[in-house]
């Protein structure tokens, strides 16, 4: 069996034990008590996201009505945005059936100011492929859920159990052709981030 052979070879060749370094120092260096909204907005905007500060879900509705015409297929993982198909009701559908979704709106409870990333697990996605297959993606987060850096983000995630989770920091993009940035590679063509401020 290759397993035993490989493990034996690795075991006999690994050198004397080296301790794990302390990573708490780094977290202390990046910790901050001030609001992360401004920093988040600057970084996320530079990464191609559209960031809106909103006071409530009605404000989100107004923006969505303006940006997306009526009649397109929109799925929402947020109960408050109840005019759209609720994601929780379509979890049993074939993943491929979401190929024609124009917009998916999901909730995140953890965002990172240093890189614009938003953490979503399968629970918030409802269906794993949704935030990737939709032509456009919108994510709602409360300002209090923004942390300064990745160290604080993983501290918040802790040892949570999930089947799948992802940090999403912007629209799908590529610079593979002569390093020219093109938004809208294989995933969503845009990411709108709504930061709830109240």
């Amino acid at each position: 069996m290759s397993r035993e052979k490989i493990l034996a070879a690795v075991k006999s060749n690994q050198f004397s034990h080296a301790e794990l370094p302390n990573v708490d120092i780094l977290d202390a260096l990046t910790a901050s008590d001030v609001s992360q909204v401004k920093q988040y907005t600057t970084v996320a905007t530079a990464g191609g996201s559209f960031v809106y500060e909103v006071s409530d879900f009605d404000a989100i509705k107004t923006i969505l009505h303006k940006e997306f015409k009526a009649g397109v297929k929109i799925i929402s993982g947020i109960k408050e945005l109840d005019e759209y198909t609720y994601a929780g009701n379509v979890v049993d559908e074939l993943a491929h059936s979401f190929a024609d979704v124009e917009l998916t709106i999901l909730r995140s409870f953890l965002g990172v100011a240093e890189n614009g990333a938003l953490w979503l697990t399968e629970t918030q996605m409802n269906v794993r492929v949704l935030p990737f297959i939709s032509q456009h993606l919108a994510i709602v987060i409360h300002q209090d859920d923004l942390v300064p850096a990745m160290g604080q983000a993983y501290a918040k995630i802790g040892n949570a159990d999930y089947g799948y989770g992802a940090f999403i920091s912007g629209p799908s993009k590529t610079a593979d052709i002569e390093q020219s940035l093109v938004i809208g590679a294989q995933g969503p063509r845009s990411l709108s981030v709504f930061i709830l401020t109240t």
Partner: protein, 461 residues
């Protein structure tokens, strides 16, 4: 896809260098990526501490790799993932083949995985009559061109948009002469969406595998790994056994370093954590050795296994930028590839550690502080000792050793050289002399330092 070539780095680089404006463009494009990396690195006052911490974490991993691998495997199995082990490329390819054929699958979509390039998986599956489509845009482009990637992060960095336009016109039906990156990317998007929706199997690489939780992380900007994996019935993830990190919280270190070093972004668009398969679907992980356990045993070279495949050493390397990725004739080009490849085949890749000026820029940008240029230097010594240097170099080195060990020979040799430079410059200023390439030979001094010194002493008396 492999370069079926026996040509050396120097010969392949010479071919690349024939088109000077293109070399300049290649050089400048990669240097621009290096500058973007600098901008991001300089924004973090703790950058150096981050690098040091990452390096130490990887040190700990390498010192207890067998334990971490067993821990990772046990946790992955608990999560409902199937784990396979492959001693070499052939075994890896066979496992993939079997997973596909036992399900009656003959077409697969694959996101970026340098390991599968190392294993030549695509060619193998093609020989077995199976179809693989690479879904990363850059990889799709080189795949359609019938070439291997020339860079681990920017696979088609050597191609001009007009050439890509021609490839897309021929294979994907874009308009003739179309070279706008936006339109070409949209063409690929439409083509690849159809692929994602019709493939029952998806293969991805692995950026990080976490021993503590059994989950693994894949980083992309395009979202192609997720599109493939979430729509397929079976997701095969191929990982080199050095991809392990001990705990989930360590991702906080590595994800901060990876993309800043690679492309100068603060993080990739997607950092996807796969822990358990979706209902009625499967995840299979293949843990591949393929020479890594041997490299672990080479004290001088084991640090190369810390590599997180960011490509920063390539972007900064003056030799890589001016010779192109294909000149390294191995799956992983550039400085890091030149210290990994000789471990796999010392004879075939004997030229690579010499494809460097030893300037040390690679070591300075490496996010996990691999002593790349020191290892290049050490490989040279191993390769010479093992007798794998080209005959001409061996003879030249031997002649040099004899001359330097005999003062009389050294003096007369020097005199001869100066006479040749003075009276017969055509003997050195010609194409037979490799030092003459791209430069004029210098004017020889009238006398040697020794002669000058002796004369000076005489005068003082």
């Amino acid at each position: 896809m492999s370069n079926v070539t026996e040509k050396s780095h120097a010969e392949l680089a010479a071919a690349f260098n024939k088109d000077e404006p293109r070399v300049d463009w290649h050089d400048e494009t990669l240097w621009w990526v290096r500058q973007k990396r600098d901008i991001q690195a300089h924004k973090l006052p703790e950058w150096e501490l981050l690098r040091e911490t990452a390096s130490q974490i990887k040190n700990n991993v390498l010192s207890n790799l067998s334990g971490y691998l067993e821990q990772f495997e046990a946790n992955a199995i608990k999560n409902g993932v199937v784990v396979h082990w492959a001693a070499d490329a052939a075994e890896h390819n066979k496992i993939v083949h079997q997973l596909l054929t036992e399900r009656g699958i003959n077409r697969m979509v694959k996101s970026k995985s340098m390991l599968t390039e190392e294993c030549h998986l695509n060619e193998y599956l093609k020989e077995q009559g199976l179809d693989v489509i690479d879904s990363d845009l850059g990889e799709r482009i080189v795949q359609l061109a019938g070439e291997p990637p020339s860079h681990i992060v920017l696979p088609c960095i050597h191609k001009k948009k007009e050439e890509i336009g021609d490839i897309f016109h021929e294979h994907l039906g874009s308009a003739k002469g179309e070279s706008d990156p936006k339109i070409l990317t949209e063409t690929a998007r439409q083509h690849l969406r159809e692929v994602f929706l019709t493939r029952r199997a998806a293969l991805t690489g692995v950026n990080f595998a976490i021993a503590e939780t059994g989950e693994f992380v894949i980083c992309t900007n395009e979202g192609n790994a997720d599109m493939g994996a979430h729509l397929a019935e079976i997701h095969i993830a191929s990982m080199g056994l050095e991809k392990i990190i001990p705990e989930r919280k360590h991702l906080g270190i590595f994800l901060r370093l990876l993309t800043r070093s690679a492309t100068g972004q603060p993080i990739t668009t997607y950092s996807s954590h796969f822990k358990k398969p979706q209902e009625n679907k499967q995840i299979h992980i293949i843990i591949v050795d393929n020479g890594r356990s041997i490299q672990l045993g080479r004290e001088d070279f084991r640090n190369s296994l810390k590599c997180i495949r960011c490509g920063a050493c390539m972007n900064t390397c003056p030799v890589y930028r001016k010779s192109g990725g294909h000149s390294y004739h191995t799956a992983i080009a550039g400085p890091i590839g030149s210290i990994l490849a000789p471990n796999l085949d010392m004879k075939k890749y004997a030229d690579l550690p010499f494809a460097s000026t030893l300037c040390g820029s690679c070591s300075n940008v490496c996010p996990v502080k691999i002593d790349i240029h020191d290892q290049l230097y050490k490989w040279r010594q191993v390769i010479v000792k093992e007798g794998y240097t080209p005959t001409a170099k061996t003879i030249a080195m031997k002649a040099m050793a004899i001359t330097l060990s005999s003062p009389a020979l050294y003096r007369s040799g020097g005199k001869m050289g100066r006479l040749v430079f003075k009276y017969a410059p055509f003997a050195v200023n010609n194409k037979l002399n490799p030092w003459y390439k791209h430069r004029e030979m210098p004017k020889a001094p009238e006398e040697s330092f020794g002669e000058w010194y002796n004369k000076r002493k005489e005068g003082k008396k």
